[in-house]
């Protein structure tokens, strides 16, 4: 009896790690086609981008780094494709220093090249500025106050896209932004909602890591954001809505055994614990 109990509750951690590694690697070879069931909040985010029209302005903020890459980059690329196909003008900025800058720029350059979009006419890279809350407040009056020059050092009002998107008041600010899509791995998403959505009424949707996702449901329920794409499942659903097979669809298959193995080990631990309590 004691041997069984020890087996159940004292499995060596290296055994756990090895089982996990195998359970993750093997399904990657199988490549099955998985059913999807997009949830309400993912459909909300997808429809928000789909409802953009020719000439609308999409402001993207890539506030994440390599540690959120598999969860957010697939959605980022699909959103860009959606927007570019509709001839939506895209502005890119980041609060996440060099990580956000590089993942954002590499994504947009890749999709722009694929869809033959021109820099300065169809999209503009604003870049990074420090002081997240100050940037958000500063953009409310005039984008040039925060980003006088773009990522490459040229004045932003020297580009054709600026003249296209600036409104009647000749100043680019939140009134000209039709949708803000934030890719968040940290607190900046909360700042976007609390500062920008509440004060200036900008329509926003977010793609967030699964760690942050539970915290965004209150905003969705309060209708402060129109959609949330949370974690890998959200990215997988978003890709399926857009009928694409990206990174999320390729690695989703290994989540099933991963979650199952975790539950199995928790169950084994509890079996041992409960039997021990009853026997004692």
């Amino acid at each position: 009896m004691k041997a069984i109990l020890d087996f159940l509750t004292l499995i060596d951690r290296r055994v756990i790690y090895s089982v996990l590694i195998f359970s993750i690697i093997i399904p990657l070879f199988l490549k099955p086609s998985l059913p999807t069931r997009p949830t309400q909040e993912v459909i909300g985010a997808y429809n928000a981008v789909e409802s953009l029209k020719d000439g609308d302005v999409l402001l993207i903020s890539t506030d994440y780094g390599p540690s959120a890459y598999p969860e957010l980059q697939p959605v980022y690329e699909v959103v860009l494709e959606q927007a570019f196909k509709k001839n939506v003008k895209v502005l890119l900025m980041t609060h996440w220093q060099f990580q956000g800058l590089i993942v954002g720029v590499s994504g947009i350059e890749k999709i722009a090249k694929k869809l033959d979009k021109k820099y300065g006419e169809d999209y503009l890279i604003l870049g990074f500025k420090p002081g997240a809350v100050g940037v958000m407040v500063g953009l409310s009056e005039d984008f040039r106050n925060v980003f006088p020059n773009d990522y490459y050092g040229k004045p932003i009002d020297s580009y054709p896209i600026y003249k296209d998107i600036v409104g009647d008041d000749d100043v680019l600010n939140y009134k000209d932004i039709d949708l803000l899509f934030g890719f968040e791995a940290g607190a900046t998403g909360d700042f976007w909602v609390q500062i920008v959505q509440a004060r200036y009424g900008v329509k926003m949707a977010f793609s967030v890591t699964a760690v942050m996702a539970p915290g965004y449901f209150p905003y969705y329920q309060a209708k402060q954001v129109v959609g949330i794409v949370g974690g890998l499942k959200g990215a997988f659903d978003y890709e399926s809505l857009a009928k694409k097979k990206g990174l999320a669809s390729l690695i989703m298959v290994s989540q099933i055994p991963a979650h199952t193995i975790i539950l199995l080990f928790i169950l084994l631990g509890n079996v041992g614990f409960i039997i021990r309590r009853i026997v004692k």
Binding site: E71, I195, A213, I251
Partner: protein
């Protein structure tokens, strides 16, 4: 091309070096960890110079500006430079004027705190509290009896807003420590704890999903980009 292949091999080596930590701390892991910190710091400095400091200086030197705005921008740059006195190197060279660097930091902290207060109240408290109460006024009374599954789903939708209201109030009662929790208050707080346990369980489930997504993508990189086994 050779750089691409070399790059993938270096990336694979560093990935495996970090993963080796699960079997215990070892020199390869420490090597990778220290390279990570060094490279991050280097990138951080390059970014600060390229995207923040140099553009700030350009902003101050821009020609077509109102004199007052240009003057104020230059004052900001001077204050920014004052912040740099806080660097440890300078504390050895000019120890007596290090306190000047507190002024720009105090300014930044003050502005941040001010924005936080307004944003919190206007952006969080008002919308969230109203979203807790308002859905009660328009509940979804349609119970669908066509199949057990539909019945369960429509029942959950019906009780949902009430669960939110009950949950928020009871959980907030749990956090109320200004008086001793006894009797009715304790009972309400206990319900609050149960709601929060559901919340924590959901967060745990999502955290597992997040961490495993990342791990799976690392293995995908090793198998697909490095070893070319998944094509």
């Amino acid at each position: 091309m050779i750089w691409d292949i070399l790059g993938i091999w270096i990336a694979a080596f560093l990935t495996i070096a970090i993963l080796s930590f699960i079997f215990g701390d070892n020199p390869i892991y420490k090597l990778a960890e220290h390279i990570f910190v060094g490279v991050s710091a280097g990138y951080g400095v390059v970014l600060a110079l390229n995207q923040a400091i140099w553009p700030s200086i350009q902003m101050g030197l821009m020609p077509n500006q109102h004199f007052f705005i240009k003057f104020m921008t230059i004052i900001a740059i001077i204050l920014g430079v004052l912040t740099l006195i806080r660097l440890e190197i300078f504390s050895y060279i000019f120890p007596s004027i290090v306190w000047l660097s507190r002024i720009p930091i105090a300014f930044v902290v003050g502005v941040g705190s001010g924005i936080a207060i307004v944003a919190s109240i206007q952006g969080f408290i008002f919308p969230q509290v109203s979203a807790t109460f308002l859905p009660i006024l328009s509940p979804n009374y349609a119970i669908d009896l066509s199949s057990p599954l539909n019945f369960l789903n429509s029942f959950l939708l019906l009780i949902g807003p009430f669960v939110i209201l009950l949950g928020v109030i009871t959980a907030l009662v749990y956090f109320y420590f200004s008086t001793e929790q006894r009797g009715v208050l304790l009972g309400i707080a206990k319900i609050g704890i149960l709601i929060m346990m559901i919340t924590f369980g959901a967060s745990f489930g999502y955290t597992i999903m997040a961490r495993f997504s990342l791990l799976i993508s690392r293995f995908y990189f090793l198998l697909s980009d490095w070893l070319n086994l998944l094509k």
